[in-house]
């Protein structure tokens, strides 16, 4: 029972981080490698504010969400949009956006490293973690919040994308942006809105994880980016449900490997399994099959 809970908790951590990246990539086609830096720097801003006074939890989360949204919107407006306009085709744009994201990520990383000398930082908050011993398992209040936030937001976004008009419009952009534009969908504003939401999710993940882990280092975001990328590919590009499932699959595999005392093999086993799944099912668990018109 405890192992199931541990896997669920870890899966929620990964899901919270990957949600924003999956949303942007799966809908407007932006593979944002600055997502990790956005996650980290949002928490860092909350850390800086909390040095002046201890923040109530909702305020810490709000600061982080707003910072994340701002960074992502700025990245979209000043980096990704210009790249898209200047690129001849989508493939060229995607490659340049990938490189551009890595370049953008280095700026908040350098600032945080400079100011902290790469020492770990936390958020000074009035929130006190409570641990419940329920016999079969132990659960902390922070883990519960992360679980609820991860699963709740994941399901909420899946539902919104499927049922709402804006969700439909976003999915249309993800399938064929030109046709979507021709049908009257305002791609620019939807892109900005999507990046704002993605950045806000990164900020929320940043604050929650920093509080749960007690501290993160400036490099923490970069370490999670590869896992998020793997989750999205495993789950299937364009499928939020796939990303949801992928997060928990990866977390379960990692939990089992750690439990077997093979901690130094976690990445090898996890990514090895992903590789095998992709060999058998290249589009991922719930991804769209590629259709090539002859």
């Amino acid at each position: 029972m405890q192992d199931v809970l541990n896997a669920a908790q870890l899966g929620s951590v990964y899901l919270l981080f990957a949600l924003g990246m999956a949303l942007a990539w799966g809908t407007i086609g932006i593979l944002n490698f600055a997502h990790g830096a956005t996650f980290m720097f949002s928490a860092f801003v909350a850390h800086l504010v909390s040095q002046a006074f201890a923040l109530p939890l909702p305020l810490a989360l709000l600061i982080s969400v707003l910072t994340g949204a701002l960074i992502s919107v700025a990245t979209q407006v000043f980096a990704f949009q210009p790249i898209i306009h200047r690129s001849r085709n989508i493939t060229t744009a995607e490659t340049r956006i990938l490189i551009g994201g890595i370049g953008v990520a280095s700026i908040p990383l350098a600032i945080a490293q400079r100011m902290t000398h790469s020492a770990p930082f936390g958020i000074n908050t009035t929130y006190q973690d409570v641990v419940w011993d329920l016999g079969l398992f132990r659960l902390s209040s922070t883990s519960l919040i992360v679980l609820i936030a991860g699963i709740g937001l994941g399901l909420g976004i899946i539902f919104w994308l499927r049922r709402s008009k804006q969700g439909l419009a976003l999915r249309a952009i993800g399938v064929d942006s030109e046709t979507a534009a021709g049908m009257g969908i305002n791609q620019f504003f939807l892109s900005i809105g999507t990046m704002a939401v993605a950045g806000g999710l990164a900020g929320l993940a940043g604050a929650l994880l920093t509080i749960q882990l007690r501290a993160i280092a400036p490099e923490t975001g970069d370490q999670l980016i590869i896992k998020a990328f793997a989750i999205i590919v495993l789950g299937g590009l364009g499928s939020m449900t796939g990303a949801f499932i992928g997060s928990f699959i990866l977390a379960t595999v990692e939990t089992l490997v750690l439990k077997a005392n093979l901690g130094s093999w976690v990445d090898a086993v996890s990514f090895g399994l992903i590789f095998i799944v992709l060999l058998l099912r290249p589009q991922g668990i719930l991804g769209r099959k590629e259709v090539r018109r002859t």
């Binding site: 936390g122 882990l213 007690r214 400036p218 370490q223």
Partner: protein, 391 residues
């Protein structure tokens, strides 16, 4: 015609004579460049050192600490006229930013600058190991701080001013024995060479010598961020102690999750948790102990004096990285004094001579194995806000 010929001969003779005179004067009068470049057997009035520190990047806390400690040492050396009246030591510092290419390039530039007579090398092992062969080829005495892996101290011109962790980790084993902590679990970052070697090679025989049983070894990776599973495993097993061999951010999370899992035993960490790096763990880190090469809690006079000077200059207490930078510069200064020669060769000889004798530094009675520093080490207890000496 004949007069022209004589004139040309005289002109040529005068030219040759002038060149010879200028060369002789230049060799004798400019003491700094001559004695530093050619090993003239004198201490120059201006002695320039170089430093390639990681001032930014993931190990910036080590680079900045070493830089600050070096500054204190240079100030003391100059103010006390340790190397003679009017002799001034200065240091040119550059940031390698945790990049091997930048470290190599900056070290090469420094070694090409004949005014720089000795260098404080980068703290990261990968960079240090990359530049060590260059140092040996160029014959520029270089003292590395941190950089604990093999492949760094490889010859006559490479020196290390940080004792490898395994050389003083016996303090932890002895302390555990004295406290009756006879069984332990090791949690370690298997991708960090120092920790992997400590867990696999160095600590097991120390544990055996001190009657400690290692009931389990749990390996994790550098990107492991959640330790709920290992923490619960340990809480269930409930050993008397846990040896924590993790990096700074990981150990903060691990200690919290360990206490959340209900474990109340003793955690024993490493000097990586020093320098206040464990502070974000809050109450979960209260009572944590670790062996280190230096702490401001030390009571010997040199350590106290260094801590006082550091606090006066930087308005904060020094960490072990600062002490390493401080003692490394003093090692170079003592080397110059011992050999009486501030040239590169003179410093190299002097460093070896001082290493043969040892000296009293901020880190205590310093001895050496070859070119590698050894320290007594000290056990520290973190009380939640500050370091104290462990009982």
């Amino acid at each position: 015609m004949k007069n022209q010929k004589i004139g040309r001969i005289v002109a040529a003779a005068l030219t040759i004579g002038t060149m010879a005179l200028v060369t002789a004067c230049g060799g004798g009068s400019s003491t700094s460049s001559a004695s530093t470049a050619a090993g003239g057997g004198a201490i120059a009035q201006e002695i320039k050192l170089g430093a390639v520190h990681d001032l930014t990047g993931p190990v910036a806390y080590a680079g900045v600490g070493a830089k600050n400690g070096a500054e204190i040492a240079i100030q003391e050396i100059n103010d006390s006229a340790f190397l003679g009246q009017g002799v001034k030591v200065s240091i040119d510092e550059v940031d390698s930013a945790f990049e091997i290419e930048r470290a190599t390039s900056e070290m090469t530039k420094m070694m090409g600058n004949k005014d720089i007579v000795a260098i404080i090398g980068p703290a990261a092992s990968q960079q240090a190991a990359a530049v060590a062969p260059l140092v040996e080829r160029q014959k520029v005495p270089t003292v590395f701080t941190q950089a604990g892996s093999s492949g760094v101290v490889i010859g006559d011109y490479t020196f290390r001013g940080t004792a490898p962790m395994e050389t003083y980790y016996h303090r932890a084993a002895e302390w555990m024995k004295a406290q009756g902590l006879t069984d332990t679990v090791i949690v370690y970052n298997a991708q960090f060479p120092t920790f992997a070697q400590l867990a696999d090679t160095h600590f097991p025989p120390l544990a055996q010598q001190n009657g400690i049983t290692i009931s389990n070894k749990i390996a994790v990776q550098t990107n492991t961020q959640d330790f709920t599973g290992p923490a619960q495993q340990i809480a269930q097993a409930n050993p008397k102690a846990v040896n924590v061999l993790l990096n700074a951010a990981q150990s903060v999370t691990f200690l919290n999750q360990l206490r959340q899992a209900g474990y109340t035993g003793q955690a024993v960490a490493t000097s990586v948790q020093g320098a206040g790096n464990i502070a974000p763990a809050g109450d979960a880190a209260k009572g944590l102990v670790y062996p280190t090469d230096f702490s401001y809690a030390q009571t010997d006079p040199k350590a106290v004096a260094f801590a006082k000077a550091y606090q006066a200059k930087f308005n904060k207490l020094p960490d072990n990285y600062a002490a390493e930078g401080y003692d490394s510069i003093w090692w170079i200064a003592r080397g110059i004094k011992a050999s009486g020669d501030s040239s590169r060769q003179g410093i190299q000889k002097g460093l070896k001579q001082v290493a043969g004798e040892g000296f009293e530094g901020a880190m205590g009675k310093l001895t050496f194995e070859g070119n590698d520093m050894r320290v007594p080490g000290v056990m520290i207890k973190w009380d939640g806000t500050a370091e104290t000496l462990a009982p």
